[in-house]
Amino acid sequence: MKTFRYERPADPAAAVTLVAGTPGARYLAGGTNLVDLMKLGVETPELLVDVSRLPFGEVEETDTGGLRIGAAVRGSRLAAHLLVRERYPALSQALLSGASAQLRNAATIGGNLLQRTRCLYFQDVSKPCNKRRPGSGCPAREGAHRDLAVLGASEHCIATNTSDLAVALAALDATVHLTGPAGVRSLPLTDLYRLPGDEPERDTVLRHGELITSVELPPPPHSARSRAPLMVYRKVRDRASYAFALVSVAAVLDVRDAAVHEVRLAFGGLAARPWRAREAEQALQGRPATEEAFVEAVRTELSACRPLRENGYKLALAERLAVAVLADLAGQG
């Protein structure tokens, strides 16, 4: 591991100044991914700026009845939060399906959103990787890519985003609040992430020095018949716990008079970002909430899939999972 400096500034402005002024600086929160990558030599920051104790540790209801989640809130705390469990159960499910209890105790919401891909080539500095070393090549296309992307990938990179949280937040229309050298700004969570294109080294649209301060959720949708929001996060994985998603789905569905009144659907495990299925949502809007309609809509969304030798199963898996989740939610309504 390369020697690095460590600073723990007292306020967000100082943190931003420190990182903005040092090209090789990184923000450090829970460190559950960054420190691993430093040990592997994938990340070699010259300065770590610890933001875990900045005043971003609150979960508050907003004036509109939504929820503002501080970026430094730990995953385990958010998963257990009463308002989250009552109003956004899919968010709690997503958090609890990720990592292990120990990691959730350490990892923060902001850090979770910025975790790097677990592509095995990205993590192995003895091999080429366009994300880690732009222009060096992508051995994953021919190599071990069973876990990697089928949507939105490029010839340069087929990495997936592995955050469960981000998938749930994408379906919940979350907004990300940022502060940075040029002031504050906000983005829809789905716009935070980039597809690889020919710049796979850039995971997000964040500028150097920008820091996530909070994530905001609009008020939860309510179904016509029940106060409980109809939403779910479901994850398919190789073992019962402590494994990244092969495919996951976050869905919100409101069925009225047997027709789709509102639907929001996002996939994990398919792309470099949580994949909000807008085409499927549009296709379903106002349509009868039947399994046939779900299948058709999901197929439309997934028609853009470009599978490789070992990851073609994700297409069928994503379709079956999404249809099962939507049918289940429709049945509950």
Binding site: R118, L120, P139, R237, D238, R239, A240, L317
Partner: protein, 698 residues
């Protein structure tokens, strides 16, 4: 003094458990000496070829770096049989990840950083790393692991199979698997003149001692190996591994103690693994399910630096009546890391294939798979013709069926739904041979009633230390608290390794003999111990020759229930019941841990475990616990191990069979058979993951 009559067999907690959970038990890398240096190895970046240049200047710029060893400046080693140990001796590279340099520094961080700064240039040759059924390099080895013949024929398989009423023919494949013990391979080495001391994580320090002596050209008596606590090995620590050679080499060069712990992500390339297998099984049987012809033909691979051949067809020489049989192995040498032992080498992958094939035969014949196995249960070992010293496979099957509720099972596959889940159950047999090796032991009695037992056994986490103390207490008719035991050092009487499930029987026999004779001496001297104490030593070299006129094996039966999600094709275990017949069980508590530990590892093999050989680079892609999946607690909801009382006088004075490996044998087949019962899909390639079953759910 109270006599405890039932020390042996009782549920005794590990004697060192408190030391382990409080962190005072020391492992190989934890023997801190004030002036110790840290070593970090450099792995080869190509799979085959030559090193053309090594540049260590950049690595040496840090003043914390003491030396960087390469093939150009490393001390010369004497040749040994295991060529993975003659490290840094030539520019030749036999597999990716082979250690080609070693950075030694005053801190772990500096050593690691220096290792990363070593610049190596190569002339790479084309490498060949993928096993295939029709690989042109396949040959029939004379000997396979365990020194068994590669091929055995009985009767006339081809003719009888061709005319059999019922015929099955299927190919089963298992992926490469990695042992990954919790404690990585590690050593601390220090020299005093020509005398070498190493604290090393291994399964048997005597082999390590002799190997080091040979490599460094010194007498074995000058090498002291201490292995007091070992955090698992699963076969990968059965012999000396590169880490201990490099630590000793570096310590010799720098004249200071050197520590080396193998990084987890190096382990898949340097400490052995289970080779992949492609196994074809053909069975010819009557409509009554009685086997008339059986062929078990194995294709596997080994490395350019080793000769290990996974003996996967061995179980078919032992398990079932088969008057006409062929058990054969073909192997090819590839430019891959050296395969070696992994828990129940041979039996474990072999029984996945055989016990799956038996299940298929049961379905073809329309006979319950428990009943079919009982019908084919032989009186004598099919291959050797020797009578079994004891064989209670039928009893294990019946007892397991009773406990599991097997008789209520509807055999039709793919019919039991619980909502969107399909439920199924499967059975498979387990088997592991009895191995007993010569051992020595010593015991001393003090006048105050205390006993001191000395034997160079190795406790790799199994509870060996505890069970040996129990054996001693029983033989001495002394309370356990008066028995003090020393293990894990070449200072102690010579003893064999913890491997092949042979440890307890081998060491225990010597301990038992020494203790019985000591007790006789004490009784002879009127029941009291003289002021100077009394000592007795034992050597079982002659004793262990007995019993060879029998085929000796432990047997078992495992029953699995699984659920398969019809939306996602995820398979999850619901419950697993194992019943074993393994002679006398010496410590109920640690034995249960051995059985369920093995069964859990077998479950991992069935549903998630496997390494991917990357054809472009020639290495295994998964090199950490995030990507190399083994079962976590949530994968094992209900697991039970039971045993039947088995009296077998042809084993050893404790009447015990080894139990370290049998638990993993058969589990994968029981789970795969349960998946078939649940879904109607016969999976013959492990592991069974969502992408395996999904195409069948379309």
């Amino acid at each position: 003094m109270t006599t405890m009559e039932h020390t042996l067999g009782a549920s005794i907690a590990r004697l060192e458990s408190r030391a382990k959970v409080t962190g005072t038990a020391r492992y190989a890398a934890e023997y801190v000496t004030d002036d110790a240096l840290y070593a970090w190895p450099v792995p080869a970046g190509i799979a085959r070829g030559e090193i053309t240049a090594v540049h260590t200047e950049a690595a040496m710029t840090d003043p914390a770096v003491v030396v960087v060893l390469t093939h150009q400046n490393a001390p010369r080693l004497h040749p040994v049989e295991d060529r993975t140990l003659t490290l840094l001796q030539s520019s030749h590279i036999a597999h990716r990840g082979q250690y080609i340099a070693l950075a030694v520094a005053t801190s772990l961080e500096a050593a690691r950083s220096a290792a990363g700064a070593v610049l190596v240039q190569y002339k790479a040759d084309h490498h060949d790393v993928v096993l295939a059924e029709d690989h042109p390099g396949l040959y029939m080895p004379e000997e396979i692991d365990g020194l068994w013949p590669g091929t055995r024929e009985h009767g006339d398989f081809d003719t009888v199979y061709a005319t059999a009423e019922i015929r099955t023919d299927a190919v089963y494949t298992t992926p490469p698997m990695h042992n990954h013990p919790m404690e990585p391979h590690a050593a601390t080495a220090l020299w005093d003149g020509d005398a070498l001391t190493v604290y090393d994580s291994n399964q048997g320090s005597v082999t390590v001692q002799h190997t080091l002596a040979q490599l460094f050209g010194i007498d074995a008596g000058q090498v002291r190996v201490v292995s007091e606590h070992v955090g698992g090995g699963f076969g990968s620590k059965g012999t000396a591994r590169p880490h201990v050679v490099l630590a000793a080499m570096a310590a010799r060069v720098v004249g200071r103690p050197v520590k080396l712990a193998v990084p987890r992500n190096h382990m898949p390339a340097v400490v052995g693994h289970r080779a992949p297998t492609i196994q074809r099984i053909r069975i010819g049987a009557g409509r009554d399910g009685c086997i008339q012809a059986l062929a078990h033909e194995v294709v596997t691979c080994t490395s350019m630096v080793g000769r290990f051949v996974e003996a996967a067809a061995l179980p078919s020489r032992v398990m079932y009546i088969a008057p006409n049989s062929r058990t054969a192995h073909r192997v090819t040498r590839l430019d891959i890391p050296a395969p070696s032992w992994m828990r129940a080498p041979g039996e474990c992958p072999g029984m996945f294939a055989l016990e799956s094939a038996i299940d298929e035969l049961a379905y073809v014949c329309g006979i319950d798979p428990v009943e079919l196995r009982i019908r084919n249960d032989p009186q004598v070992e099919p291959d050797s013709g020797l009578p079994f010293s004891s064989r209670h496979l039928t009893e294990c099957l019946r007892e397991g069926a009773r406990r599991f509720g097997w008789h209520e099972r509807d055999p039709s596959p793919g019919t039991r739904y619980e909502g969107r889940l399909l439920i199924g159950s499967g059975v498979a047999a387990s088997m592991y041979p009895v191995v007993i090796l010569p051992s020595r032991a010593e015991v001393r009695a003090d006048p105050d009633g205390h006993y001191w037992v000395r034997v160079n056994a190795t406790d790799i986490g199994t509870g060996a230390r505890t069970v040996l103390a129990q054996i001693a207490a029983d033989a001495l008719t002394a309370p356990l608290g008066y028995v003090h035991i020393s293990i894990g050092s070449t200072d102690l009487p010579e003893a064999p390794l913890a491997g092949g499930s042979s440890g307890t029987a081998s060491w225990g026999w010597a301990v038992h003999n020494a203790c019985v004779r000591l007790r006789g001496l004490i009784e002879h001297s009127g029941g009291s111990v003289p002021a100077g104490g009394l000592s007795v030593s034992a050597d079982t070299t002659e004793d262990v020759k007995s019993g060879q006129e029998y085929a000796r094996c432990a047997f078992g039966a495992q029953f699995a229930e699984v659920q398969v999600d019809t939306d996602t094709a995820e398979v999850r275990l619901r419950r697993l019941t194992g019943v074993f017949a393994a002679g006398r069980i010496l410590n109920a508590r640690t034995a249960r841990s051995q059985f369920i530990g093995g069964m859990t590892m077998g479950l991992s093999m069935a549903l998630m475990e496997g390494s991917t050989m990357d054809p472009e680079f020639g290495d295994y892609a998964e090199r950490d616990f995030a990507s190399y999946h083994v079962a976590v607690c949530a994968d094992v909801p209900a697991i039970e191990a039971h045993w039947i009382d088995e009296e077998d006088p042809h084993l050893n004075p404790m009447h015990s069979k080894g139990i370290g490996e049998i638990g993993i044998v058969g589990t994968a087949a029981a789970v795969a058979n349960a998946v078939h019962h649940a879904t109607g899909v016969r999976v013959r390639t492990l592991p069974i993951r969502p992408d395996t079953l999904l195409p069948h759910f379309a």
